[in-house]
């Protein structure tokens, strides 16, 4: 063989072997078992009744909604194959997929949708109830079409068909029953890719493949085991020793992420949180001096080294938050006042207002080590500009109580934004939401009639282009007044084995279930 021919052949073989793995990985295969961590143990798996994080993460495999959302928050079909919006933005008509069956074999129809939205979730789902205030009526047009008529256009309406917000509930099981005590809650029935098999409390939850799933060939996996492991170090070790294959975002301390990321056969993704866009900030009690003075609140913003917190406390995960709307949420604006780390400016503002050095109380979020360290970093930052801070530790119930009763000066928190300022941001700032009794209210006590009006107008403006200008103005105003101190757009990395593919494919990641996931040989 001539040298040139050998070289050519070698090059061809090299290219062939280089692309071989890609070709193999591009072909999904059926079968396999995945072991995942869930923490804390969910209180129940009936997603219509319980919408906390762990419930949704497991039950997102059992239940479904009409739509899913890609990472840009654009709707994609699921139980609904198409949808029309009327010219005035008030009527939404969904065409449902045919031949969809509940896990017990009954057909899923438009009547299930009407029952779910109008009867079941109106009673049980506090977050959805706020959006449903905009809905005048829901009607079934035959078995496979549903019409929602709104009282007025509601900008984020097409964004509320995510499974945690609007899980479909079987009418034939729940109609006419006491929802919360229905025995069927223990053996949840949905239309999702996996069926409930077993729950050994304190140990594990076992889901198995739904062979009658409405998408041919899906899901690929045979079984999923969700392991309840209460200690975060033990969760990290469970991954390290191969007992679990997936650590969902937030299930281990951030300082363990780097170590696990370097393990062989391991991938890390930050995707799958775009819809929630967890936004961390400090509640500031606007009612009391010196916190009632905007100059003091601005001084806090300048005093905090948020880049340090991201790099050290969160091991580089996260983005410094510019204001109330996350960069992942619709209508985010960058045209706002910026608050870089500038202790001198903070001191100048405190001097200008004549701050008397009165100490202030700071409640850390009792969610683990990272939050505790973050609180210590903030205390140190504030001490450096002359603000004395007393950290007051609580457990979760105590933290809730203090927030509910407005008994704090500063308090760490983070909230989901649900893709749209009208769904996840307005509640923190509008004065109509100032009320004791819930940590999801406007706990800061911030009241600005201009902000109230902008939020109200932006929510119902139509078409969507008209909303941007209103939200731009709103963000400028709010960032100027600093009713809360924005910290970071949090990122919760999901850690998993490299041979697992298509684990995170939508804007809610693992909460949308393991419908597309498959294991490579």
């Amino acid at each position: 063989m001539r040298p040139t021919t050998s070289l050519l052949l070698g090059a061809v073989l090299a290219v062939y072997f280089a692309i071989m793995p890609l070709r193999v990985s591009a072909e999904p295969r059926s079968g396999g078992v995945i072991n995942v961590v869930v923490q804390p143990e969910p209180p129940g798996l009936m997603l219509g009744l319980t919408q906390n994080g762990p419930t949704q993460m497991v039950a997102g495999n059992i239940y479904e909604s009409l739509l899913r959302y890609d990472e840009n928050l654009s709707p994609i079909q699921n139980l609904a194959t198409s949808w029309d919006v009327s010219a005035d933005g008030r009527v939404y008509t969904f065409t449902l997929k045919e031949d969809v069956r509940w896990h017990d074999g009954e057909a899923f129809t438009a009547h299930d949708v009407v029952f779910t939205v109008d009867t079941f979730l109106r009673e049980t789902h506090p977050r959805l109830r706020v959006s449903l205030e905009h809905v005048e009526r829901v009607e079934a047009l035959g078995d496979h079409r549903v019409r929602f008529t709104l009282k007025q256009p509601f900008g984020p309406f097409l964004g509320i068909f995510e499974v945690g917000t609007m899980p479909m509930v079987p009418r034939h099981i729940y109609e006419g029953t006491e929802f919360r005590s229905n025995p069927a809650n223990d053996t949840p029935i949905g239309t999702g890719p996996f069926k409930f098999k077993e729950w050994v409390k304190g140990s594990h939850i076992h889901l198995v493949r739904n062979d009658d799933y409405h998408v041919d060939g899906l899901p690929y996996l045979d079984e999923i085991y969700w392991h309840v492991i209460p200690d975060s170090s033990a969760r990290a070790i469970a991954y390290e020793t191969g007992k679990v294959d997936v650590l969902p975002g937030g299930s281990i301390e951030t300082f363990d992420v780097e170590r696990l990321r370097d393990l062989p056969n391991t991938k890390v993704t930050k995707k799958g949180w775009e819809y929630f866009a967890p936004h961390a900030f400090l509640w500031i009690n606007n009612r009391t001096s010196p916190l009632s003075d905007p100059r003091f609140r601005r001084a806090i913003m300048y005093a905090m080294d948020r880049g340090f917190a991201r790099d050290v406390v969160w091991n580089g995960f996260g983005t410094v938050a510019a204001g109330p709307v996350s960069s992942k949420t619709k209508f985010h604006s960058t045209d706002v006042r910026h608050y870089p780390y500038d202790p001198d400016k903070a001191k100048a503002l405190l001097g200008e207002m004549g701050y008397d050095g009165r100490p202030i109380r700071l409640l850390p979020l009792p969610y683990g080590e990272a939050w505790q360290r973050w609180a210590e970093a903030v205390r140190q930052n504030l001490n450096e500009v002359g603000i004395q801070v007393e950290l007051q530790a609580t457990d979760v119930a105590g933290w809730n109580q203090r927030l509910n009763e407005w008994d704090f000066d500063l308090a760490f928190t983070y909230l989901y934004q649900f893709g749209d300022p009208a769904l996840g941001v307005a509640r923190t700032y509008v004065s109509s939401n100032i009320a004791k009794g819930s940590p999801w209210n406007n706990v800061a006590g911030y009241a600005n009639s201009k902000v109230d009006e902008l939020f109200a107008r932006a929510a119902i403006a139509f078409p969507e282009e008209n909303r941007q200008a209103l939200y731009d103005e709103l963000q400028q105003t709010v960032v100027e007044e600093v009713p809360v101190a924005w910290l970071l757009e949090l990122e919760f990395p999901t850690i998993y084995r490299s041979n697992i593919n298509d684990l995170v494919t939508t804007a809610i990641g693992l909460n949308d279930g393991f419908v597309d996931a498959w294991i490579e040989d």
Binding site: P43, G44, K201, V228, I229, A234, I237, T241, A397, A435
Partner: protein, 324 residues
Amino acid sequence: MHRLHFLGIRLIKAVLVLFAIVVLNFFLIRAAPGDPAMVLAGEAGAADEIFIAQLRERFGLDRPVHEQLFFYVRQVASLDLGFSYRQQAPVLTLILERLPATLLLTLAAFLISMALGVLLGVLSARRVGTWADSLITLVALIFYATPLFWLALMAIILFSVQLEWLPAFGMRSISQDLTGLAYVADVASHLVLPALTLGLFFMAVYARLTRASMLEVAGMDFVKTARAKGLSPGRVTRDHVLRNALLPVVTLAGIQAGHLVGGAVLTETVFAWPGIGRLMFEALLQRDYNLLLGVFVVASAMVLLFNIITDLAYTFIDPRIEAG
């Protein structure tokens, strides 16, 4: 007859004490900030007044406290421990579900600690002042002083991560359908680390207690008399020293046995052992009043029961102690 009378009196006293414990715990739990409705609402990621009012009404938390207490005591008197707010299941069912795991762990730890502890204590006392005594004392001190969670994590790192000998968490390999001996072996392999971790602390306590007690008894006149009578050293140790030295050990064993049902919060948490200790800890964080009170009631009843058994055991070990 004396013993029966003693037993009757103790049982009546135990019921009164149990009642006092229920009432005290009822108020103690409610003194902590926050309530289950708040915690559940907090977990839901959103809450409005309707939702919180719904929860309070469902849990009966909207009624006056004295009514809630009356209702709860009446319920407990009819052996009904109520309904868990968060777990959405009867409390008794939840406790009984977790009981086998807890008993397996705590009994294994109890046996390890008793057997090893008394053995090491006797060895140490018989060889007092030698290198063996010093070594045993040192080991006992180390296990006594080491925080349990640290010991647990180190055991996991060594035996599960580095050596890969033993599983790191859980009670069994759940994705394998094992039966018979294979199942027993699987559970046993999961049990080794948590039982040893929990047992080593108590082992240290037993060893120190047995040693001190034996040395104290060994110096007493009746032991000297036994030796003077020409009894063999082994018989003196076994029949005269050890038997008398066991009283404080039995007291401690009684206390430990009383806590068998209460589980071991730290060990169960680190090893993800599905027992009652974890259930109790989670109930506390979630302000799951009924579940927490239920675990307290069962655990207190066991402590009282084992106290009575311990008192009875005294009368058998030392006939000089009269029942009652």
